[in-house]
Amino acid sequence: MSLAPLLQSDPAPTGGHPAAPGRRTAGRTVRALSAVTLLALVGFALAGPVLLADPAQQDLSRFLEPPTLAEPLGRDDFGRSVLARLAHATRLSLVLAALSVATALLLGTLTGLLAGWRGGWVDAVLRGISEAFVALPALLIVLLFAALAAGGSLWTLYVGLALAQWVEYFRVVRARSARVLATPAVEASRLLRLGPLHVVRRHLLPELRGTLATLASLGMVTAILAMSTLGFVKVGLQPPRTELGLMVTEAFPHYDTAPWMALAPVAVLFLLTVALLGLRRTEVTR
């Protein structure tokens, strides 16, 4: 995911509020903080699994060991390192969310372009399909897909998350591209026979890029939260795979004796969503 379009300074506010300049610098600080947090989490997710111990290695003699210097988050009820498990869970969440968002983005953009470009019956069919998906909450679609396969399949979770999200991209791209394609600029490049690829690259993508980036960061939040929610209600990924929501559920019975076990995945989830939303905010309010 490229951060560049989200981090660049925004154009002058249109509203003309008296508080605008102060809010603009505040917005920039929020975005910088979000980017740093996100980068730190991505670094943890990428380096952690390589550097830390095997998350599945049990040591029952060290049952619920409190945090120490060598093991900053202590050990869980099977004597497994909570930090190593957390790193694996974070990587799983980020990778699966990024993959499903990328798939949804590609599928939604392509179908949206097709509908906007061809119009007619292609548009009608695609819009009919999208209408049905719009009415179905993302969690419901992912749950239906979870029922399709044996418990804990990564593959169904990925397909479910991607299918739950493609509609947003489809709707945005279809609406925007229909408008852009009707402009005189596009008509001119058609008359010049510059080809469809040129129109997409020069006219459509610059128009869509900002919105798609915003939608994608929001989609990452949706995907990560949906995944952990499913893990939490025990119909998502299954143990012994480490997943953030599953870690919360597993740690909850030990809340009295080992609160750090439940707090660690909760903190990661919270920081991930805050950072991703922080990147997005100014884009939307603009």
Binding site: P137, L139, L140, A147, K234, V248, V266, F270
Partner: protein, 322 residues
């Protein structure tokens, strides 16, 4: 045909198309789930009918021929789809009761929870938004922004856990689970309602600020209308035109929240039933609950569309062009 009737029938046609689509998507996915269930469906059904001890190859074959399980897959799919409009959703594979009666029971629980959550969201969100709108950019305005962001970043299940730990474990004030009693409704409704309240507050604030600053409100003031009259006749109705469609968009969030919050608090409703159905691979119940939840979203959006037609008599662009 008058323009109003044309708009109303347009809304109804579009929404019934959507309902049809929801039914198709859910039914096809559930049919696929049935196809992928392990074992031979004929033996399973025969075991359910005659008891496990009396299942023989011949009785399984009789079931197969009777229910048409030996037909090609696409014919079975058509039969499956044809059963849905007849409300023939089959029996639960776990409790062996008809799905339709179970759904009625669960729907009541879900509607109770959703209504309570909406009340909580409105009670927190609307006053907060109105107060924040008094001074845009003021302290309260910024507090609302922070509230919206933190509520959005806390998924319902974490918010619910937090409330359980605080009110049930540490303070011992409210029950963490159970159903029926009004006290056990408080925590689930607060969890759901708090999640929605942030967005309600934000939206109320934005709309009120925008409408207050508009020219027609300025004109109404200039012409000497008292403040109460301006608010009642101009601000509220114009704000509602923007707020009501937004409530429709909330329906999806509400349904997602219901699924999570019901499982967390063991509240007897559609979401709880849905999660259990996935867990036990109880496809008939899965299909029934998913259908009802999807149709609830469509129904809410239809009501919202109709309310907008009533609130906002200006013709739409599309209607004007047609």
């Amino acid at each position: 045909m008058s323009p109003l009737v044309r708009r109303l029938s347009g809304v109804l046609a579009q929404r019934s198309g959507q309902a049809l689509g929801v039914g198709l998507v859910v039914s096809v996915l559930c049919w696929l789930a049935v196809q992928r269930l392990p074992g031979d469906a004929a033996y399973r059904i025969a075991a359910g009918r005659y008891g496990h001890d009396l299942v023989t190859t011949s009785s399984a074959e009789a079931v197969r021929a009777e229910l048409g399980l030996d037909r090609p897959a696409w014919q079975q799919l058509l039969a499956w789809l044809a059963a849905v409009p007849r409300l023939d959703l089959g029996e639960s594979m776990v409790t062996s009761r008809p799905v339709v009666t179970e759904l009625g029971h669960h729907l009541v629980g879900t509607l109770q929870l959703a209504a309570a959550a909406l009340v909580v969201a409105a009670l927190i969100g609307v006053p907060l938004g109105l107060l924040a709108a008094r001074r845009p950019g003021g302290l309260l305005d910024r507090v609302t922004i922070a509230w919206v962001a933190s509520v959005r970043a806390l998924p319902p299940f974490l918010l619910g856990l937090l409330l359980v730990v605080l009110f049930s474990v540490h303070l011992g004030l409210l029950p963490a689970a159970g159903d029926g009693t009004p006290a056990s409704l408080v925590l689930p409704a607060t969890t759901l309602g708090a999640g929605l309240s942030g967005l309600v507050a934000r939206m109320t604030r934005d709309v009120v600020v925008e409408v207050r600053a508009s020219e027609y409100v300025g004109f109404a003031r200039t012409k000497g209308l008292p403040d109460g009259g301006v608010t009642r006749r101009h601000v509220v109705r114009n704000a509602a035109v923007a707020l009501v469609p937004y409530l429709g968009a909330q329906a999806i969030l509400l349904v997602e929240g219901v699924v999570v919050v019901e499982s967390l608090f063991a509240w007897n409703g559609l979401g709880h039933a849905l999660v259990h159905a996935v867990f036990w691979r109880d496809v008939p119940v899965l299909q029934g609950t998913a259908l009802v939840l999807g149709l609830v979203v469509v129904a809410i959006n239809t009501a919202v569309d109709l309310a907008v037609v009533w609130l906002d008599p200006r013709p739409r662009n599309r209607g004007a062009a047609a």
